[in-house]
Symmetry: D2
Amino acid sequence: MSYSIAILGASGYTGAELIRLIARHPSIEIKALGAFSKAGQTVAQVYPHLRHLDLPAMVPFDQIDWSGIDLCFCALPHKTSQEVIRDLPKSLKIVDLSADFRLRDPEAYQKWYGNPHSAVEMQGEAVYGLTEFYRDEIAGARLVAGTGCNAATGQFALRPLIAAGVIDLDEIILDLKAAVSGAGRALKENLLHAELSEGYHAYALGSTHRHLGEFDQEFSKVAGRDVHIQFQPHLIPANRGILGTAYVRGDAQAVHDTLAAAYDDEVFVEVLPMGEAPSTRHIRGSNFCHIGVVPDRRPGRAIVIAALDNLTKGSSGQALQNANLMLDISETEGLMMAPLFP
Amino acid sequence: MSYSIAILGASGYTGAELIRLIARHPSIEIKALGAFSKAGQTVAQVYPHLRHLDLPAMVPFDQIDWSGIDLCFCALPHKTSQEVIRDLPKSLKIVDLSADFRLRDPEAYQKWYGNPHSAVEMQGEAVYGLTEFYRDEIAGARLVAGTGCNAATGQFALRPLIAAGVIDLDEIILDLKAAVSGAGRALKENLLHAELSEGYHAYALGSTHRHLGEFDQEFSKVAGRDVHIQFQPHLIPANRGILGTAYVRGDAQAVHDTLAAAYDDEVFVEVLPMGEAPSTRHIRGSNFCHIGVVPDRRPGRAIVIAALDNLTKGSSGQALQNANLMLDISETEGLMMAPLFP
Amino acid sequence: MSYSIAILGASGYTGAELIRLIARHPSIEIKALGAFSKAGQTVAQVYPHLRHLDLPAMVPFDQIDWSGIDLCFCALPHKTSQEVIRDLPKSLKIVDLSADFRLRDPEAYQKWYGNPHSAVEMQGEAVYGLTEFYRDEIAGARLVAGTGCNAATGQFALRPLIAAGVIDLDEIILDLKAAVSGAGRALKENLLHAELSEGYHAYALGSTHRHLGEFDQEFSKVAGRDVHIQFQPHLIPANRGILGTAYVRGDAQAVHDTLAAAYDDEVFVEVLPMGEAPSTRHIRGSNFCHIGVVPDRRPGRAIVIAALDNLTKGSSGQALQNANLMLDISETEGLMMAPLFP
Amino acid sequence: MSYSIAILGASGYTGAELIRLIARHPSIEIKALGAFSKAGQTVAQVYPHLRHLDLPAMVPFDQIDWSGIDLCFCALPHKTSQEVIRDLPKSLKIVDLSADFRLRDPEAYQKWYGNPHSAVEMQGEAVYGLTEFYRDEIAGARLVAGTGCNAATGQFALRPLIAAGVIDLDEIILDLKAAVSGAGRALKENLLHAELSEGYHAYALGSTHRHLGEFDQEFSKVAGRDVHIQFQPHLIPANRGILGTAYVRGDAQAVHDTLAAAYDDEVFVEVLPMGEAPSTRHIRGSNFCHIGVVPDRRPGRAIVIAALDNLTKGSSGQALQNANLMLDISETEGLMMAPLFP
């Protein structure tokens, strides 16, 4: 059985990553590619690294014939995404990679993103796309909201611990090191090679990063009470990768046991042996998340470190994982490639 | 039909790359991994990025049971390779990634590598593993010698031009920019991040690089006369990639036409439209080679630029491509992954 | 004796580099900083790395009081520069870092830059600012045109050879590897860290780079006949540095002797021992240019490799060197800092 | 008045950085350079970037004539350093850059470094070289122990806060991001460009880094009670720089006020305006330390971020700052160079 999909916003990094993954998928076919400013160009023009593929040209959204398309990936900027998705055929399954349907509460959305939501009615319908924790809902969903890449990293490290109550819920600090492709293809001075190389720094200072909206929503839901972590991300001179270092209060062995049990059956989340830590060089270009647990010298404190590729497991890989579920394909199909090393 | 293979020298970069590729191959199974200093360790210990794979442990070579193994990849240092291969079962098909069987002439081998060859009798038997040009011989070979990564890049750019006589054979200059993984996992000061990052430079000065032995052998053979190019490589602060810039005398359009015709049926070698040039960011982690042709402002002069990933098309990808042929599997099997971008 | 200077275009990389150098100069004081879009900001806002300095705020050009200012550095985009300089007080000494006054011939300017020159009368007056070769003219000049950074690199490698006639003037190829700060602070996709890191490539294909206008002018002048080299630059994932590899015909020893003699008395240009090659890591942040000569395996052919820092010796350092001469200060004042390594 | 100095261990990164700085110092002259394995070589051979300098050759330690030398910098590995320093003339002033004399307590030394101290009698004499906090003792000292580069970063961020009691002493977490030159010129796989570039990770897991010995000693001394922070460093793909992110409990404004007051008269430590954060790109190659304070969204919690160059303010720059004091030279002499940007 083969399925047909479309990708809207195909000219950004997450769009390109979707194409990379789906091009090798045995039962999904790319039928349409939608773009704004680059509409009218071929994929080879926009992405010379994909020139060997036989793909449809990039077209304006309104030129896409939706009949015969089973699922649509939306890799659009937030705010744009909700406006586009609102008007898509209701029969279409949708995986949204933007921030627009991650938050269930319209007020939370407005607080973190600064504008009222223009498809409030769909917010309730959307399923939060953290596959390992919403597998059943995703399988039955029409609209799945891909998580933030930082939000995914933090949740893989912390969510089972919060659910199990093995750490102090009021004392969670997440210090995150993000590679630059997570910022997208935006033309900003601090993303230039001349400035970022040899120039790393914190951003979204003092727990102001928008992905905190997701942490608050999800961690509070799991805990059954309000949980508000501290979260400070940093921009690192690397292309792909997120390394999240979480400082928690709890017994390190219990922390490790809890994570090991939580992910025991998971293909893509690997808990390293106690005392080992992951590196971004070991997950690059793959859909794997590596998690390490380290006891601190101070008893009762542990460090949990999670590493994943922001464009794969943090975004497009997870999106495909969700699409597989929604289309009743094997969840790991097209996603088992090994990391690129070195 | 499924085949069993072994990899000797599994702990180096080309060995890791072989595992990355073969792990997803539908009809080849890794049955044994041989190592020297890292024998006794699991793959997950040596290569944490491969920890999700169910692979045999690394063992000393003499503990490998060769019965039932169809083909062996040797990813060993040169000189060691010939000694090991000499003693392997004669029934075994072998793809050697070292330099040991690239040169047919024992004297040429000694000239470029500094030691007499210790398996001279096998030098004659070996087939030069530049797949696109030795396809039939490789399919029937028992021992195939993988090409040098720089040698492959230069030959993809130049070989059809030399064969067709559309360029002046005495006026070929190849200026090459090589990423650092081509130097292997050797611990040398100039390969340290602190020194190479922001510190690029020429090496193997004045056409002294050993891959010239391959250029001389192959280009002279194709031309039917001696051809001795100038070749100056440079080390670039990047992990993967080779960019070769060849300065040739000839009509640019004829050069482009010749290359386009030569690779018209080739899956892995893409000739860009006239006047476009490739980038290493568009072939990273893939088995593709991109070639561009540019006319110079001086009439009768052209620039040919080729880009490939030294560990994939330049080494382990090509090795698998050859193994596919030797095992009568589709040549592209396991090799059609798209490049990793960004 | 102390001199007062102004910098126009202080918010670009070359402007920042001028401030870095002049801030430690014992006899030059920065009196005014002119900017366009960043006018009104303090230096600390625009350049936090200069926040320890006590500098005037950035102001619009028309707010600068030119009385009492001895010399003005113009670090503006080309075309803008000529319009601004045309209207500056005629009593002011000027060092222009743009391309606007490098070419003496208005037609050559229009050919390479695409627009007619709007200060043709000043083109004749300007002195070409390659200090080591125009020292006397620069000392007496009112307007000095800083060279292109690539143009400087190529001339340091080749100019004495062309002047001495020790190489074949019709067979010169310059393959250049440029770090990204030479492209300025422009917001372009290929300058993003995510794209340039791991993604190097040729640009200005087939001898179309504008700095060829300078090569043609200067090499032809020195040779007393037309000289048109081939010149292909490449963009490298590094912040600072230019490495130029020149392929020439001539006796390598004669080439080395000629360069060694030419720069024997020069403080900033170092000719390495025969057979050694420079690296960008050995000149970073300094005003030094290192030159190496290597014989090729083919008799009568040599390779000349020159390395310098595009922002220092290639631009702002050279500009200060020229200003020192124009103000009758010791030429090396403020420029003897050692390279930053690693 | 001019002073003569020697550098032992001149062939490592901190030795090279000392030469870079002292070469431009108006009143200090390098009289001897001592090395082990590279003895007998010239500086130009070991460090081509210093080839323009007229420096003594590198000699074995026992060939150095100590008469006429006022001060010796020891840039040796720890353990070696104590053995060498023990036997130096007692009249010599010494600035040690190793870890050997940082800890006053022989047991603490043995705990963190694993071997008994072989110059215990000198441990008591040594002054801890964090200039801004030990200025008077350093001025009168014979032996000054340079601080660890990570230890310096953490102390600049935290020491005034601990002294002032404006933060909770039991709840201090320091998450540090260190560039690779801090690991020295050691040949290790994880320091190779191919592995570190795109591969960042934590090391010295769970507060096991040796610099914690310094934090414990100094913070406890300042607090008048035991203070044991959590400290987790990470290795980042950059050459120079340390960014320390400290998570503290206390009023952010009080934290900022305390730091601003503490460093108000300090030339090299700059406290940024409230709410701003530093970047390593703004201190590279300089002796400056930038500190930012950010309130967290959770009341009563603040983030303090400090950035410095590990080789300059974190090591050799600070060493020179101390030497200036010991020789009664202006403390900032030779150290006011602006950072290299970009």
